[in-house]
């Protein structure tokens, strides 16, 4: 069958009649190449008319180089997992998503320029990502100016949804005041009344410290001292050696490499054996555990996401997310780290956008106000889209409230101790949207 075409008249005409000249062959080749090129370059309206839908452009900004590159790449995994999943399921409103990725080099000036490019040149319909709070805050006015929705993926600074809140910016995960409300009960009633807080001495550490001080005092506890340690301090011993006195617990507010240094040196100085050791969940992210070994044993922390498959996280939704995230992370890090809160929050941020676009019938940036209205006050249930659990995206400040997990490190693994329902993490809104 395969060879019979050679007997066909058209084939004979070309190959066997002696009419195939070099000129004719080149002409045919050029025509084929032209047709292929034209197919590739065919204008968008024609593509649409012939059934291929115009994609939604989603701008994703992450620090893929510079000091925050490791975290930015992990965060990007979450965003891209969601984009791929949405596209495999047929896209949003029958249109696929096209991710336009921008690396802002961990610098606010570059971030601002990249966001300008995403909005002005690439003409993205919505944006997602962030990571570094200072870059998020620097870029927020640009989203306001271009009236485009920005779904924050990681940026944790409290002011993003309080004093500097914006009608165009949403944070679909927790923030320090909500975590403090959720954790303070456990700290004061189950661990001890008197606390010493060590924190990274810059905006995030200071605002998180203030939130915990307020909540611990409110519940009858006491914060007897505080130690601010500059970001990037390689040797924290001079600071930690001064921590002493009569208190029950040592509370740490650290993340990344700083967290590893703190936990290691606090253990070496005997602090975490003399006092109970608790803190922000970022101290004991799954990626830190191999480095910390037994030195982090007994640490109690709070986090919105813990990579365990124990109840209540033993749902098929979470298992699916967990397995896919492990596979995706292995592609960028062969050691195969477990997913962390950055993967989870970016994955869910993208799904919030999907849901908002579906519910508002969003067609493009002209429908931004419809999208905002659809997202404001949105309640979502635990599902494949939201494996972490139910969430409410509050209308008044665009801040999400979700359940929190209190965990303990045992045998170098996370073990869930208590789950705080989202209703018990709520703090009053402190945002007034600008009218402009």
């Amino acid at each position: 069958m395969a060879e019979r075409w050679q007997g066909e008249p058209w084939a004979k005409d070309i190959w066997c009649s002696g009419k195939t000249t070099r000129r004719r062959f080149l002409g045919l080749s050029a025509a084929t190449a032209g047709a292929l090129g034209a197919t590739m370059l065919v204008p968008a309206p024609w593509r649409e008319a012939f059934g291929q839908a115009k994609p939604y452009k989603i701008g994703i900004m992450q620090p893929l180089t510079g000091v925050a590159a490791a975290g930015g790449k992990t965060a990007l995994v979450g965003s891209m997992m969601a984009v791929d999943r949405i596209n495999k399921a047929g896209g949003v409103n029958g249109r696929p998503l096209e991710a336009v990725i921008a690396d802002y080099e961990s610098k606010p000036d570059v971030g601002r320029r990249k966001v300008e490019k995403l909005l002005v040149e690439d003409k993205v319909d919505v944006a997602e990502g962030g990571y570094l709070s200072n870059v998020c805050l620097a870029c927020m006015p640009v989203f306001d100016e271009h009236r485009t929705v920005f779904m924050v993926g990681v940026c944790l600074d409290t002011t993003i949804t309080t004093t500097k809140c914006s009608r165009y910016v949403f944070r679909p995960f927790d923030y320090a005041p909500a975590q403090a409300v959720a954790f303070a009960h456990y700290l004061v009633n189950k661990m001890g009344k008197k606390w010493h807080i060590a924190y990274l001495d810059y905006a995030w550490g200071q605002s998180t410290r203030d939130a915990y001080v307020e909540q611990i005092k409110k519940l009858g506890g006491e914060v007897v001292g505080g130690t601010g340690i500059p970001l990037g301090t390689a040797d924290m011993t001079p600071f930690l050696s001064k921590v002493s006195g009569n208190f029950d617990g040592f509370f740490g507010i650290f993340f990344g490499a700083n967290a590893v240094v703190l936990a290691t040196q606090a253990y070496d100085l005997g602090l975490t054996r003399k006092y109970k050791f608790a803190g922000d969940g970022a101290i004991a992210e799954s990626t830190h555990l191999p480095a910390l070994g037994h030195k982090i044993e007994g640490f109690v922390g709070i986090n919105r996401y813990v990579p365990v498959l124990d109840p209540p996280l033993n749902t098929p939704h979470h298992r699916k997310f967990f397995d896919e995230a492990v596979a995706a992370l292995k592609k960028i890090d062969p050691s195969g780290p477990l997913p962390d809160r950055y993967v989870q929050s970016n994955f869910e941020a993208m799904n919030f956008l999907k849901l908002g676009m579906q519910r508002s019938g969003f067609r493009g940036r002209d429908d931004t106000m419809k999208l905002i209205e659809a997202l404001e006050g949105m309640d979502v249930k635990e599902s494949d889209d939201f494996p972490q659990g139910d969430k409410t995206l509050r209308k008044e400040d665009h801040q999400a409230f979700l359940r929190e997990f209190i965990f303990e490190i045992k045998d170098n693994k996370h073990r869930l101790v208590e789950v705080i329902p989202k209703e018990k993490t709520v703090v009053p809104p402190a945002c007034t949207f600008s009218k402009a």
């Binding site: 000036d109 805050l137 620097a138």
Partner: protein
């Protein structure tokens, strides 16, 4: 007027005219891009006064630039309604005060010791700004609104991207002409003499330290002015701009463009930004690799920078 002087002024007028017309014909993104290049160009030009004309490599320019930004921020956040001229004044005072402080201590040293001292000072200011959250906003920096362009009794209008570009262009042009005048004055000649042979300059009776202090102060003032312009354009000030890596980038602009030319560093900034922007469109997170390779090749094959290379070719 000599033939070469006429050629220079004709070239200057043509470039100026192109920059005036640029925001009217360029798309929105590139319009802002050119304005930003002018601002970074002014910062690079201010450093050229030290590197190119006095022979002092400074890594403290990020401090002057940043203090200019924070000075402007202070004026725009505390004075109601926000006033453009006060923002410039506060920025210049902030940068000038820091420049006096840095100059007093660092100009007693030479070569690598001077460079390290300026770097240390910029880091000191960075840490203060980064941790003094109540005043500076800490890591998050400060956001503020853009002031209107107002001359009392004459005009008051909000900036548009086009008018802001023209305002920045006017400031950069006047700064360039000012710096050019300084470098060609007897004072500038002494600076160049210090660059060529400091002991001999001292031996013929010049108080070298005083000249160096004034050079650092002037350079710091122009760097502060660039900081004010950046704050006006972007409506925020952040501690990242005070970090010494910014100074390092500005040194790169000087090397790429050509030291001791004033215009060269502006061309260097433009070239660097364009390279970074264009490569980032194709290589996402890997674009700094080709930029780095090009920079290395330029240092090897065009050590005198773009403008120095051009000048040599024209003279051939």
């Amino acid at each position: 007027m000599t033939r070469s002087a006429a050629g220079y002024w004709i070239g200057f007028a043509v470039v100026l005219a192109l920059l005036v017309v640029a925001p009217l014909v360029l798309p929105e993104f590139w319009r802002r891009f050119v304005t930003e290049i002018l601002i970074w160009g002014l910062l690079a030009m201010s450093l050229d006064l030290l590197i190119g004309y006095t022979g002092m490599v400074s890594f403290g320019h990020s401090a002057f630039f940043g203090l200019g930004m924070y000075g402007a921020a202070a004026a725009l956040l505390t004075v109601r309604p926000p006033n453009l001229w006060l923002a410039i004044l506060y920025g210049l005072v902030g940068a000038g005060a820091v420049a006096v402080f840095v100059a007093y201590f660092s100009t007693r040293l030479r070569d690598i010791y001077f460079a390290i001292t300026t770097l240390v000072f910029s880091q000191i200011f960075y840490v203060i700004i980064f941790t003094w959250t109540e005043v500076t906003g800490g890591e998050n920096g400060l956001g503020f609104s853009q002031p209107a362009f107002a001359i009392p009794g004459v005009v008051s209008a909000r900036f548009t991207p086009v008018t802001l570009h023209w305002f920045v262009l006017a400031v950069v042009t006047v700064s360039y002409l000012g710096l050019r005048r300084i470098t060609q004055s007897p004072f500038g000649m002494v600076l160049q003499s210090i660059r060529e042979n400091e002991p001999r300059t001292r031996a013929i009776g010049y108080h070298v330290e005083r000249y160096k202090i004034v050079a650092v102060m002037l350079s710091g003032l122009f760097a502060g002015l660039a900081g004010v312009l950046y704050a006006l354009q972007n409506k925020f000030a952040a501690p990242d701009f005070v970090f010494f890596l910014v100074s390092g980038e500005v040194v790169v602009f000087n090397v790429m463009g050509g030291m001791g030319t004033l215009v060269g560093p502006v061309a260097g900034a433009a070239f660097f930004f364009l390279l970074r922007e264009l490569f980032s469109r194709f290589f996402t997170e890997y674009y700094l690799i080709p930029v780095g390779i090009i920079f290395t090749l330029m240092v090897i094959f065009v050590p005198q920078g773009l403008l120095g290379f051009l000048r040599r070719r024209l003279n051939q």
